[in-house]
């Protein structure tokens, strides 16, 4: 039974590889079909290899407009949620104030609430306030739901920080601002970065809340959804593949830098 023994010995590796394949396969499909030349309007069956879509990613009306809008919203939502979320996290960990406990649990509400419910209630709120739906309402909504994730990520980091480090900085002639910039911020940075990345990803591909509150504005996920009714241009796969490649490249670069630092520190 050499096959069985092989299986048994490498069970963990095999399980890991299968899980990895499970996660990556959809991305591979998207990638492969970005080189397709479909017959008709739907890109669901493989026909022949072509670079047409890659040569002209903006060739479909409104696609690049919606993409740039989504990117702009994602960037501003990330900035807004990260700044507010970081401050909230520090306040919740470092200070004792009234309603601290309540805020601690309320922060989780946007994560726990069904998105569609939140989307509908936000729309009701905006309509009652007489707000004009568009870029700003979407941005406000995105900052709101990204906030919880940033707070959670930063809070975990701040909680594990030794307050003596800041005392040491103050003892070593660093005023309050210097202490924050030179010690607090660099040590909290991994948590803040994790929160920011999460916020960006969540904002960029959010559909439900955006769809309710965007009015006549069209973001990239809304564009994909809309075009899927009438036919799927190959360019969508091109954009999807490009995003995937960029994300992977960023992660690899980050690890490369971290590794280099580690080996440098060893010398």
């Amino acid at each position: 039974m050499p096959v069985l023994r092989l299986l048994r010995r490498n069970l963990v590796v095999i399980a890991g590889l299968l899980t990895l394949a499970y996660m990556i396969l959809p991305n591979v499909v998207v990638m492969v079909f970005s080189f397709n030349r479909p017959e008709g309007r739907f890109n669901y069956a493989w026909q022949e290899f072509s670079l047409d879509a890659w040569k002209d990613p903006c060739g479909v009306a409104d696609l690049c407009g919606s993409l740039s809008l989504s990117l702009r919203i994602a960037v501003w939502a990330t900035v807004g949620a990260t700044v507010l979320g970081t401050m909230t996290a520090f306040a919740l960990v470092r200070y004792r104030f009234r309603a601290r406990g309540a805020i601690n649990s309320l922060i989780f509400l946007p994560m726990a609430m069904p998105e569609v419910v939140m989307a509908a209630s936000l729309l009701t709120l905006f309509l009652n306030m007489g707000a004009e739906l568009g870029f700003w309402t979407v941005l406000i909504a995105h900052i709101m739901f990204c906030l919880s994730f940033v707070v959670t990520a930063v809070k975990a980091r701040v909680m594990s920080m030794d307050p003596r480090l800041e005392e040491a900085a103050r003892d070593l002639y660093a005023g309050p601002v210097q202490t924050f910039v030179r010690v607090t911020l660099p040590i909290a940075a991994p948590g803040i970065a994790a929160g920011a990345l999460l916020a960006f990803a969540l904002s960029f591909d959010d559909f439900i809340i955006t769809n309710f509150n965007a009015g006549s504005t069209v973001t990239f996920p809304m564009f994909v959804w809309g075009s899927a009714q009438r036919g799927t241009p190959v360019q969508i796969n091109v954009i999807g593949t490009a995003m995937f490649v960029i994300a992977v490249a960023v992660v690899l670069a980050g690890q490369f830098i971290a590794n280099r630092r580690k080996s440098n520190a060893g010398k």
Binding site: A168, R170, A174
Partner: protein, 383 residues
Amino acid sequence: MTQQQTAGGDVRLTGISKTYGSFTAVHPLDLTVPQGSFFALLGASGCGKTTTLRMIAGLEEATTGTVSLGGRDITDLPPYKRPVNTVFQSYALFPHLDVSENIAFGLRRRGIKSVKKQVGEMLDLVQLGDFARRKPHRLSGGQQQRVAVARALINHPQVLLLDEPLGALDLKLRRQMQLELKRIQTEVGITFVHVTHDQEEAMTMADTVAVMNGGRVEQLGAPADLYENPRTTFVANFLGTSNLIEGEIVSTGTDVVVSAGGGELRLPVGRCPSPARSGEKLLVGVRPEKISLTHTDDADAIPDGRNRVTGRITDSSFIGVSTQYVVESPAGASLQVYEQNIERDSRLAAGADVVLHWNPEHTFGLDAAQSINAGADGLEDVA
């Protein structure tokens, strides 16, 4: 390093206290640490020693009183404006900076650009030249501790505060670092204020020791003075071991005579809490290593004029250089005796009847109106 001038002055605490709500961590206390001295604050955990230290550093605001340094009142200065640096118990090294940047931190915050030479000198002083580019988490405990010292010393503070800096090290390394710190202090000549709960550490390193208990300074003095002349049972028990025997004063003169356990004990009047009056109770104390043990059969050979107590050995443990005996005696407590292993009398074993005798000069008296066991296990009386 030797030519550094430390524009100095004494640390003077005047009526300083700290209360948290209804809890008083430090009762109003006055303390003067002379410039250039190695000063230890010794006490069990919760006795207020660290709080006192943090008030000198400015990390804790004093409820009442003032802190002054070389005649200048620094009570209201924030920590980053005080010419004082701290070595923290957990070292508090900045994890995102390497060793040399950790050490350079204080200089850089004061706007000094060329730090390389000074950092190099500091690394040499603490013998960590090869580790300049390492991150703190890749150093051993002893190395981290030396980085913490270097990071504070590079600023030439007028006072260096050490908050149990050796607590996290194992025994052997701790001994080594004690000598190292003492060497550095002698070399740089800066005032060191050292907080510790380890009485041996305080006695080895410090010129002056302040024993704290329950937010108060019980006694202050040179280590030998504290050891030989404790003024409270807490100090007698916390600093080393003491045999305390309850007795009643029979007569006074140049020697005070006390009746205890059916016999009489003498001690110089100068070592009694004044005033010593006949008929009053007194705790008679003697350190275990001052006592000699003689088997009852040889009792006649004991010279006259020595204090004697009879008893029976209940336990003896051999620990190499000496043997420690526990003796049950009519004088009350189980008395501790440490005998050097020079000529061992094989009859001195558990169950043997013995006479304990010592020079009356080595006897001290304590006020009987206090708990005889205060500080005995080093942990009680913390409130």
